[in-house]
Symmetry: none
C-alpha cells in the first residue's frame, strides 16, 4: 500500500526537535512492504493541518498523522480533523472513564486538562485499549487514517503494536503475502554484511534485504513478498537459513531483542551473576543492564570509578599497577574486572577503562583508546579497541563491546556444557 506520514508540531518546523518519528514510521512501513509517497511536517495550524490531510487522502491508501493530540491549547490536531473532515468533536465516556481510572493521583486541575483527551472527531476508535496513551484511527473515503502521539516512545509503541498489524490485515484483503524478519548484528560493519549477503538479494522474485545501521549495531531485514503463501514460505526459509549460517554469532538476536536483554536471558538460563566496573563509560553499562525488567535476578551492581583513588578504594586496583601502567591499560582493566568480581561475589566481572574525549587524549593513547576485561572463574582476559566518533559514540560503543564479550563468553560455556 502507498501511504503518507504527516508530523505536526511547531517544535519540528522551528528546528528545535529533530523529527525521528516519521523516520521510524518510514523504516517500519518499508520493512513491512509498504511505500511512503510523502512525509510532511507542519506546525500547529488548524487550516494547514486540514489541508495537508485532505491532500494526502487524495493520493494515498493510508495516512499516519503524529503529534498535536495532547491536552494543551497548542494541540490542535483534533480540531483540525473535525473541521476538515466534517466530524464534530464527540465525547467518548469510555475513554474519559479509563483516563480517570489510571490518573487517581492527579490533581483536579490536571484531571480537567486530561478530560480534553476524551473529545475526539466523530467516528474515531481509540488505538490503545486502556487509553494510557492518546491515539485513534478513523476510516475516511475507505482509507485508514491513524492519529498517534508525537512523543517518540508512545508513537513507536502504538505504531508497531496497532498500526502495522491493522495495515497488515488491510493488505491481506488484497491477497498479497509478506514475510519479514529482522536480524540484529553486532561487531560487523554495514558494508561487510552487505558483501556477505548481497548474493541472496533477488528483488525480481520478491526477496529484499535491507541494511540499517543503528549505531553501534546493524539491523538486517529480510523481506519476502509474493502472491502464494507456499512459495513465500520456501524462499523465506532458504534465505533465513543462509543468513543465520553466514553471519553466525554476529547475530545476537531478532525482532525486539536487545543485546542487554539477550545477555540477561543467558545469565538467567545459566544461573550466573554479573557485576561491572566502569571508568570512561561512566555508568552506561550498568544502566543498560538495569533497563531490563527483572535484571536484579542476575545483575548485582557496579562501580563507576572515574578517579584512580576510587579505583583503588572501591575496586582494590593496586596502586603499583596504576603507577606503572596508567589508568588506561590492559593491566588496570584486568584488575578492575577482578576487583568488581571479588567485591560483589559475581560469577562474571566486566570492566571498561579508556578515553572517551574530547579531552584527555595523547599521542600514545588517543581519544577512543579503550581497554576492556572480562573476569570469570576460568580466568581474566583484556581487550584493546580503538573507537571512532564523539564522546557519546565512544561510550555507547565501548559498553556494547563489553556486553558482547559477556554474551560470547556465556555462549562458549553453553557449548562446553553440552
Amino acid at each position: 500500500m502507498r501511504g503518507e506520514i504527516i508530523a505536526i508540531g511547531d517544535e519540528l518546523t522551528t528546528g528545535r526537535i529533530l523529527n525521528t518519528t516519521s523516520f521510524f514510521a518510514a523504516s517500519q512501513l518499508f520493512a513491512a512492504g509498504h511505500e511512503v509517497i510523502a512525509m510532511t511536517t507542519i506546525g500547529d495550524e488548524v487550516e494547514l493541518i486540514g489541508e495537508t490531510i485532505r491532500q494526502a487522502l487524495a493520493r494515498a491508501d493510508f495516512i499516519i498523522v503524529t503529534g498535536g493530540l495532547g491536552p494543551t491549547t497548542d494541540d490542535l490536531t483534533n480540531r483540525a480533523v473535525s473541521e476538515a473532515l466534517a466530524r464534530p468533536a464527540t465525547f467518548y465516556p469510555e475513554i474519559s472513564r479509563k483516563i480517570a481510572a489510571h490518573g487517581t493521583n492527579n490533581t483536579a486541575e490536571v484531571q480537567s486538562a486530561l478530560e480534553k483527551l476524551a473529545w475526539l472527531p466523530a467516528g474515531a476508535h481509540a488505538l490503545h485499549s486502556e487509553a494510557r496513551t492518546a491515539g485513534y484511527f478513523l476510516v475516511q473515503d475507505g482509507k485508514p487514517v491513524f492519529f498517534l502521539p508525537g512523543v517518540p516512545h508512545e508513537m513507536k509503541e502504538l505504531l508497531v503494536e496497532t498500526v502495522l498489524t491493522r495495515l497488515a490485515v488491510w493488505e491481506g484483503e488484497e491477497g498479497r503475502q509478506v514475510r519479514q524478519k529482522v536480524y540484529k548484528v553486532v561487531g560487523l560493519a554495514e558494508s561487510e554484511i552487505n558483501n556477505k549477503l548481497e548474493h541472496l538479494e533477488d528483488p525480481a522474485h520478491g526477496v529484499r534485504i535491507g541494511y540499517y545501521p543503528v549505531f553501534p549495531e546493524v539491523h538486517v531485514s529480510l523481506t519476502v513478498a509474493g502472491d502464494g503463501e507456499a512459495s513465500i514460505e520456501e524462499r523465506f526459509g532458504d534465505c533465513d537459513t543462509a543468513i543465520v549460517e553466514i553471519l553466525g554469532r554476529a547475530i545476537y538476536g531478532c525482532g525486539n531483542d536487545s543485546l542487554e536483554g539477550v545477555v540477561g536471558r543467558l545469565l538467567g538460563w545459566q544461573g550466573k551473576t554479573l557485576a561491572v566496573a566502569e571508568s570512561c563509560s561512566g555508568g552506561l553499562l550498568a544502566h543498560k543492564m538495569t533497563k531490563v525488567s527483572g535484571s536484579s535476578a542476575y545483575f548485582l551492581g557496579g562501580v563507576v570509578a572515574y578517579s584512580n583513588e576510587l579505583k583503588e578504594r572501591l575496586l582494590g586496583v593496586p596502586s603499583a599497577i596504576l603507577a606503572q601502567y596508567g589508568a588506561v591499560s590492559g593491566e588496570t582493566a584486568r584488575a578492575m574486572a577482578d576487583g568488581i568480581r571479588r567485591v560483589t561475589g559475581a560469577g562474571l566481572g566486566v570492566s571498561i577503562t579508556g578515553i572517551a574525549g574530547p579531552g584527555g587524549g595523547g599521542e600514545a593513547k588517543p581519544v577512543g583508546t579503550v581497554y576492556l576485561a572480562l573476569a570469570t572463574a576460568a580466568g581474566t582476559d583484556d581487550h584493546l579497541v580503538h573507537l571512532a566518533g564523539d564522546r557519546w559514540q565512544i561510550q555507547e560503543h565501548a559498553s556494547q563491546i563489553a556486553l558482547d564479550l559477556v554474551r560470547r563468553s556465556l555462549l562458549d560455556s553453553e557449548r562446553e556444557a553440552v
Copy 2:
C-alpha cells in the same frame, strides 16, 4: 519570510536515512527570523517533485529543495524542475569548465558523468562560485527557490554561506521581525505550566507560547513576531520577565542547556564535587553526569548497589537499617547518600532507592515508590516521591529528580554565599 523545505530521495522515504538536513535548515531559518510552513520529504519521482514545488510556490515566500542533484540516474530533481517550471535544460559552459578544472584526476567515465552537473534548468545561477558542490537558485514568480545537494555537510555549508545571506537581503525589504526563547522546566506538568502562562498568550499581537513535553521535562517557547523592532523588543522583554517570575526555579535553563550540564556548571563554579549511589536507577544518574564533557573535574564516581549486600559492603549502609526499614526507605536512602559521600570524599552525595517495576511492588510500596537523599556538609535530607509510568520512565524521572535536588541545593548555597 515564510518558506518551505523540500527534501528529495528514496533513501529518506524508505526510512533508510534519517533526514537531518531539513531539521538543520529549519533551525537555521528559525534562528534567522523566518517561519517554515511545511517540510516535505518525497522520493525520486519526477511528477511528484514538480507537483510539490508548484504547491510550495503557491503558499511560500521562498523554497529550499535538497537532494537529487547528483550525476547518477536516480537524481531527477533537475529534470522535474525543467518540466514543472517550463525551464528547458540548458548547458552552462562556465560550470563545465570549472568542474573539469578541479577534476583533473578523474577518469573519463567519471568526467562524463560529472558533465551532467553543467546542465541546469534555464535561468539557474550556481550557488558555489567554484562549482565544487552542486547547488543553484532561480527566481520563480518573484520568489527565490534554492536547490542544494542532499549530502549533509555540503548542504549545510551552502545553506549557511549562501542561502541565509541571500534571504537576509530579501527579508530586509519586508522588515518582519521575530524574537524567540526556549525555557527548560523541571518539576511542573505541561498542563500546570499552561495554566500559569495562558494569560500571557496573545496570538493577535504576535505573542505565542508553546508547550513541549520532553519527558520528564517540559520545554516552553516564547515567540514574539511583528513589524517593528522596537515594539517586538518591548513585548518580548515583558513576557520574558513574566515567565521567569512565574516559573522561577522550575526553569533550569534555556536553549541548549541540559539539566546535567547545568548541575555540572554549578559544581564547577562552586568548586564542589559529586558522587552518586544508585539502586533502582541502575547507573542512569552516573551515566547522565558523565555524558557531559569534562565531567571528571567534578564527578568522582558512583556505586550501583542493587542487592542489600552491596549496599552494606560498598556504601556502608548498616544492616540494622536495612533490616528495620527495608531497602526502599528514607533511612536507607540517607545511609546510601552518607555512605557514597564518605567513601568518595565528595562534597555532595546523592542517592536513589525505589521500585522501578514492573515487578517488586507491594501494597505498602507500589511500583513507582522512590526515596532520594542528598548529603552535604550541612546535613542529609530524604525525599519520597510516587512516580508514574513504565520502568524506563521511573528510572528517567527518578534520576532527573536527583539532579534537580543537587541543582536546588547548589542554588541555595549560591544565595547564602552572596
